[in-house]
Structure formats: structure tokens, C-alpha cells
């Protein structure tokens, strides 16, 4: 039986790590992800896991040690946030290109400068092209569930890619919420044993990892890596279905909330989806045909499936909690790509919100729907791109 408990998002991720019981964890503390590693260090100290914890001196070394241990043939994990993820940037690409199924929680936090410890998605969105599978979560339950699925997906022989499980800093990481933790044994059975591939510690079959590719091979290796991402999508569908059968919580590539007959749709990522659902319920009671498409999987991005899900809606507001300076938000760009081939294109526009932890209250969400109603009534989008909740407009 699963155990219903009230636990912080960080605590839930530490629990997932305890249950996964990886061979090696290499990590460096950074707010707001620190507690994950602190809790995990306690598990190590109490002998509750078999893991070796490497308390490295930087996030760059954390990911370097993770890659080393992974190539050596182990299941490895870490956690980070914000500038820590930025410091890993070089190694993120290397983990992915070397096809190492490293598992990492990213507790989303704004990137400096100015320094800010609160939530936005600038960190993980900045790493969206690194070649990692990226999951996003509305709450601690989803973050935990995604992490339980992560090794099964990343270590699949058709995939062999690192997996990043993202959740909102403080909003989720530091909040206690009610959730269900599954039984250790059941989780371990679901995940199964890790299989090494061309292990560096197999000294009888010496392999060379990280060779120099020139123009005669680099593009072929990249092509193969892209294929692994394509294949990951169906593996994720399979694993999510198996997870649903096993644990009763059903996950698709994205979540559709009141989407079927919706005229006005908001597309959003992570915790704000909770507030949006709350407002949708209220507006639905008033007869408004509003809905939410909540992103779960950002890499690989499910273009065709999302286009299908948005078929028939009349206006789409894409809410980005990060910026791509000089461009539309990262999520908007993908939704826009997804809709390019749509027969009846909905009106589409982009709103940036919540940078550096700026709170979106329920009234702010209502304003978002009010605006989309106006645009829909006028039959055109006034402002393609704008910031919400910013002084000075």
C-alpha cells in the first residue's frame, strides 16, 4: 500500500532517490535544491541506501563525477538549481552525447543576475537543447512519479539518455503537500536493475569513451542521438502506461484539463497549472469554455500530439516562466511550431510571468482568461508578447 504523507517537494525527491538507491550520487548544494542532498546524505549516514555520495566542490564536478560513474557502469543521480545547472552546462551536453542515463532533479530557480533564489524556469529552459529528456511537474506527487519513471526511461536500451526532472523552487520544493509514496519494494521492482553498456570498468574489454570526432563522424553521432530522442517518446508513453497500471496514477505526454470542448486554452508548465485549474473550474461554472494544456514532457517535445490536442480551440495563450531574450518564450516557440501545420490555426500569443518568483494570484489568472476572451471577441491578438504582473506594463 502506498503511504499518504505530507512532505516537501525536496523531501519527496529525496525519497525517490532513496527508493531508486543509486550506485553513486555526486552533488553540490545550491538553494533551493539543497535539502534533497541533505536528506539523501542522512540516508547514506543511516545506511538506508547502498549509495556512495561524492560531495564535490562544484556542480561542474558533480556532473563530471556523475558521468564518470555512469560510464563506469553505475546508476547515478544528482540534483541542482539555477546557476548550479548553468555551471554544469558543458557537462550536460557531454552526458547526453555520451548517452549516459544520469538522473537529475532540477529545482527550478531564476538565473543570475540579479541574483534571486526564487522560482522561474530560466535554468532548465536554458538547458533545453543539451540533449536531456526533460520532465516538468505541477506538484510533489508528479515530481516524485516522474523521478520513479526516469531510470526506466533513460536506461532503456533504445534511449540511453539522461533525464532531468524539474519542479518549481520553493513553491514545490519547500512546501509540504499531501502525496502518496509507494512501497520501496514495489518501486524497486518497477525500476529494475541497471544495465551497464560498454563499461569503463570492464578491463577485459577496454573501450575508449569520449574520442575526438572530426567532420567525418560528428554529424553521424549527433544524428544517432537525435534518433534516441525520437524513440524516447514512445518509450515514455509505454513506461507511463505501465506506471499507471502499477500505481494508479495515469500520465500522458502532457495533461489535458477541460480541453475537449475548450475555445480558450492556456498552455503552461509546472505549479501554476494548479492555480489555472482552480480558475478554470470557476469559469466553467459560469459557462466559459476554457481549458488548460499542461506540459509534462518538454524534451523530446510532442509536437504532433499537442497539435492534435489543440485542434478545435480558438485561442491559445502560452505562458512562459522564462525568457529567451530577443525572442518569444521557449514554450511559445514550441507551441507555435506544433501549430504550424494545423488546418484551422487558433489565435496564438505569448505571456511571460513569474520571473524570479513573482507570484501569480488567482485573480491574475482570471485576468489572463479575460484578455483571451477580449482577443477572441475582437478576432485578433493585440499584443503577441507581453509580461504579466510587471510594474510599468
Amino acid at each position: 500500500m502506498p503511504k499518504t504523507i505530507a512532505i516537501t517537494g525536496n523531501g519527496a525527491m529525496a525519497e525517490a532517490m532513496r527508493q531508486i538507491n543509486p550506485d553513486v550520487v555526486a552533488a553540490f548544494p545550491i538553494t533551493p535544491s539543497t535539502q534533497i542532498i541533505e536528506d539523501f546524505a542522512k540516508f547514506v549516514a543511516d545506511g538506508k541506501v547502498d549509495t556512495e555520495l561524492i560531495t564535490v566542490e562544484s556542480e561542474h564536478s558533480a556532473m563530471s563525477a556523475c558521468i564518470g560513474a555512469s560510464v563506469a557502469g553505475g546508476r547515478v543521480m544528482t540534483a541542482t538549481s539555477s546557476n548550479g545547472l548553468a555551471l554544469m552546462w558543458e557537462m550536460l551536453y557531454i552526458a547526453a552525447s555520451m548517452r549516459q542515463p544520469v538522473l537529475m532533479t532540477v529545482v527550478n530557480r531564476a538565473i543570475s543576475a540579479p541574483i534571486n533564489i526564487h522560482c522561474d524556469h530560466g535554468d532548465s529552459m536554458g538547458a533545453r537543447d543539451a540533449g536531456w529528456i526533460q520532465f516538468y511537474a505541477e506538484n510533489n506527487q508528479e515530481a516524485y512519479d516522474n523521478m520513479i519513471m526516469a531510470p526506466v526511461i533513460g536506461e532503456n536500451m533504445e534511449v540511453r539518455l539522461p533525464v532531468m526532472v524539474c519542479m518549481d523552487g520553493f513553491i514545490i520544493s519547500h512546501s509540504i503537500e499531501t502525496m502518496e509514496i509507494e512501497e520501496d519494494q514495489k518501486v524497486r521492482d518497477f525500476i529494475g536493475e541497471h544495465t551497464a553498456l560498454n563499461s569503463l570498468l570492464d578491463t577485459d574489454n577496454p573501450v575508449t569513451w569520449g574520442a575526438l570526432d572530426l567532420h567525418d563522424y560528428y554529424i553521424e553521432h549527433r544524428r544517432g542521438q537525435q534518433e534516441a530522442m525520437y524513440r524516447a517518446k514512445s518509450v515514455i508513453e509505454d513506461v507511463s502506461m505501465r506506471f499507471g497500471e502499477e500505481f494508479g496514477r495515469k500520465y500522458d505526454l502532457f495533461e489535458s484539463y477541460c480541453l475537449d470542448d475548450a475555445d480558450r486554452v492556456v498552455v503552461a508548465i509546472n505549479s501554476v497549472a494548479g492555480e489555472i485549474k482552480e480558475v478554470i473550474d470557476e469559469l466553467r461554472e459560469q459557462g466559459e469554455k476554457v481549458g488548460l494544456l499542461k506540459i509534462r514532457l518538454f524534451r523530446p517535445f510532442p509536437y504532433a500530439e499537442i497539435a492534435q490536442a489543440l485542434k478545435g480551440c480558438k485561442i491559445v495563450t502560452v505562458m512562459d516562466r522564462s525568457t529567451s531574450m530577443g525572442a518569444y518564450g521557449p514554450l511559445f516557440s514550441e507551441i507555435s511550431n506544433a501549430l504550424y501545420d494545423a488546418e484551422a490555426k487558433p489565435l496564438l500569443y505569448n505571456r511571460t510571468y513569474g520571473l524570479g518568483g513573482r507570484v501569480m494570484l488567482l485573480d491574475d489568472i482570471k485576468d489572463v482568461f479575460k484578455e483571451s476572451e477580449e482577443y477572441l471577441n475582437n478576432g485578433k491578438v493585440e499584443k503577441m508578447f507581453d509580461f504579466l504582473n510587471v510594474r510599468g506594463g
Binding site: 499518504t4 504523507i5 505530507a6 516537501t8 533551493p32 533564489i117 526564487h118 505541477e138 506538484n139 518549481d168 520553493f170 513553491i171 514545490i172 519547500h174 512546501s175 509540504i176 503537500e177 499531501t178 505549479s271 494548479g274 492555480e275 485549474k277 482552480e278 507570484v359 501569480m360 494570484l361 488567482l362
Partner: protein, 191 residues
């Protein structure tokens, strides 16, 4: 008014207010309710005024926004009385639970309350008596059970607290804290 039962805690950094809000949520969760608890995070350290929030419900809680219209305001540090923001968003029905040695009448006046229900509890004295230092959380939790028995009964709170504290504290401190809850409950005054 929100469909959730919502609490706003006012305390100071280092007093354990955040832990208090979280412990109360864990206890209420133990009775089968859905809960969430979270602080307002900033760079403030020991001594700075801070807020923490609880949200309880029979159904799944989806929102993460700060509590704007609290059902209960918990004031953990008496020296906060008179500071800004304690009365933000309160209604006639809002219940106040205040850690103070002063009488309910004096406290009501100091806070500038109208008709709201007010409970006072000398949580600092209780804490000094039991722990020889100022950790008013447990007594505040006891006072909460007195103020809002429909949310959690004293019996349930004592039972859950034993369980929660045993994960956090040494055995003798678990007993002391349970005792502090009982004292907090017993020594509440109201008008």
C-alpha cells in the same frame, strides 16, 4: 472566502514558525485531510519577521498562492503585535491565536480587533518552563487545537505530534513537546 481552511502564521526567523506551520500540517494530514504548508521565503535570517501558511481541505489542494484571507492568524511572537500586516485580509470570522502573557482584553486592544475571536496563550512561559528557552511552537499548536477543535482535536493532535516529533527529535524532547501541546491547550484564555 476560499474553499480551503487557511492559516497565516506570523513569527520571527529562528523561532521555528515555519516548522510550526509544517508540523501542524503534518498532524492535520494524519487525520486524513489534504494539506499544504509553506513559508514566504526571503534572505531574512534570525529575528526578521516572517510569515508561513497552512491550507487544509477534504479534497486535493491545487493552489500554491500565499494565504490572503486567513481563517486563522497565528501570532507566534508577542513583539510583533503592532507591526504591519497582521490584519491584512482578515474578516469578522477570522480567529486569532496569540502568544502573549497579556490578557485577551489587552491583546484585543493592542491588535485593534473588532469582533473577531481571540485566544491568547502564554507560549513563551510554557516553553521556558519546559525547555528553559523560547520555542513556542508546540504550545501554539495546542492553542490552535483549543481554538479550532473542528480542524483537529486535542487527542488527535497529541497522537499525531508524537509520531511527527519522533522523526525530528530525541525521545525526551518528544515527550516534552507533547507536554507543551497539552499546556498550550490548557492555558488558553479567551473572552
Amino acid at each position: 472566502m476560499s474553499k480551503y481552511f487557511e492559516i497565516r502564521w506570523h513569527g520571527r526567523g529562528g523561532q521555528g514558525t515555519v516548522t510550526g506551520a509544517k508540523s501542524l500540517a503534518e498532524a492535520v494530514q494524519g487525520t486524513g485531510k489534504h494539506v499544504s504548508a509553506f513559508p514566504d521565503y526571503g534572505p531574512e535570517r534570525r529575528g526578521a519577521p516572517l510569515r508561513a501558511f497552512d491550507r487544509f481541505s477534504d479534497e486535493k489542494i491545487r493552489i500554491h498562492t500565499p494565504v490572503l484571507e486567513p481563517d486563522v492568524v497565528m501570532i507566534v511572537d508577542p513583539t510583533l503585535i503592532g507591526t504591519k500586516g497582521l490584519l491584512n485580509g482578515v474578516s469578522d470570522k477570522t480567529i486569532f491565536v496569540v502568544n502573549t502573557e497579556k490578557s485577551p482584553a489587552e491583546t484585543r486592544k493592542a491588535l485593534g480587533l473588532d469582533g473577531q475571536t481571540l485566544y491568547t496563550v502564554p507560549a513563551n512561559s510554557i516553553s521556558h518552563r519546559l525547555f528553559k528557552r523560547e520555542i513556542p511552537n508546540s504550545a501554539m499548536m495546542g492553542a490552535f487545537a483549543r481554538a479550532c477543535p473542528d480542524v483537529i482535536s486535542l487527542e488527535a493532535l497529541l497522537e499525531e505530534a508524537k509520531h511527527i516529533f519522533s522523526h525530528m527529535l530525541a525521545p525526551h524532547l518528544v515527550d516534552k513537546n507533547v507536554e507543551a501541546i497539552q499546556c498550550g491547550y490548557d492555558e488558553v484564555e479567551t473572552v
